[in-house]
Symmetry: C2
Subunit: 214 residues, 2 copies
């Protein structure tokens, strides 16, 4: 009985997500679902990435948080449209929440939609939002054992941003151990070492994003 209810919820979500994907693709927009732990640096990466994109590449951002509009306010300062979703306690975004948020965005001239999910390395992975791909942010301060300990999340990544690489020497994060874990869970994911505070690796990140424009 419990399984049926969960299955119905997921089915309804998938139908909504398919509609979102079709609509965005029809408008020539590529969309990225950005996921990671609280404080892994998702918002700061967007704050630094957006101004580095070529001038003709316009983006919009949807921010997901349990509470507050702090993240959408930070993103708005970069000059792009940003919408905040408050999940009021829910541990992930779903397609219905995104559907509502999208109705507040003017998509004229927009070619990228960044969706920053709730900070959580578990739940967001189970919910398709209609995105074209997934970017997982892991900071080196979280430890190199995370791909194996949170396989459902890392299995779905197109790109893993290994953030706070400037702090690596202050931690025991071992790139070899991390890469071994990724090979077991998701050998196809691209891995980029970045630091949002000093924009290490951001030239490669910009290139990765630009290469995937529609």
């Amino acid at each position: 009985m419990k399984i049926n209810v969960m299955s119905d919820i997921l089915k309804a979500n998938d139908l909504l997500a398919q509609g979102i994907r079709k609509e965005l693709e029809g408008r020539g927009i590529v969309s990225w679902n950005i996921m990671g732990s609280p404080g892994s640096g998702k918002t700061l990466i967007l704050e630094h990435l957006i101004p580095l994109l070529p001038p003709h590449v316009k983006s919009a951002v949807v921010e997901g948080d349990l509470a507050t509009s702090k993240d959408a306010e930070r993103i708005a300062k970069t000059g792009v449209q940003s919408m905040q979703i408050n999940t009021n306690g829910a541990c992930h975004l779903d397609a219905a929440m995104l559907r509502s948020a999208l109705s507040g965005i003017n998509f004229d001239g927009i070619s990228i939609l960044f969706i920053e999910n709730v900070g959580n390395l578990v739940c967001p992975s189970g919910f398709d939002l209609g995105e074209n791909g997934r970017i997982i942010v892991l900071s080196v301060t979280e430890g190199d054992d995370k791909p194996e300990k949170y396989p459902s999340m890392f299995r779905t990544a197109d790109l893993v941003l290994l953030n706070k690489i400037d702090l690596q020497k202050q931690t025991d994060f071992n790139i070899g151990r991390f890469s071994e874990g990724m090979k077991k869970i998701n050998p196809d994911a691209k891995i980029l070492k970045v630091s949002a505070v000093n924009e290490t690796g951001f030239a490669q990140l910009v290139q990765w994003v630009v290469d995937r424009l529609p």
Copy 2:
């Protein structure tokens, strides 16, 4: 309909949790539910705390993870009994999982049970495990805005361990902003600044734990 199902699940969990609490208290055991983001340092704190407890204070540990037994293996090296729960994708422990794990522990002479929950700053807060209190671990690398952004978690804390304090100067973590957030969400929680790698603040942490022995 959905709400009824969720309410029934929580009711069943609460009944089981009450049974666990009664049983542990009857055995003279105090239990702590330890929660925080992936990589906040929950396991490393236990690895350093357990050997610093007075010799007559024996503890046991239950570790919750989506996958792997890495954490229970780390804890076992301190010489205490440790049990690993794999949630197989679930984002939090519940009382039924803990009930199963407890059947594998010999409680003779044990006075503290540490339960390390799944790394997640959202879901574990909603599930009573029968614990006597809650310890939230937040690392300074996660940012000072977390109490307001994850209120359901911080509202339930008896103790907040502000971990990785040795890295504070490499971050923009502002203790004043963090304390303001905590005052809004949970003014009664005790806050201790700690670093598991060099045991900063561990004398106070040991004292806090010892003061709360049955």
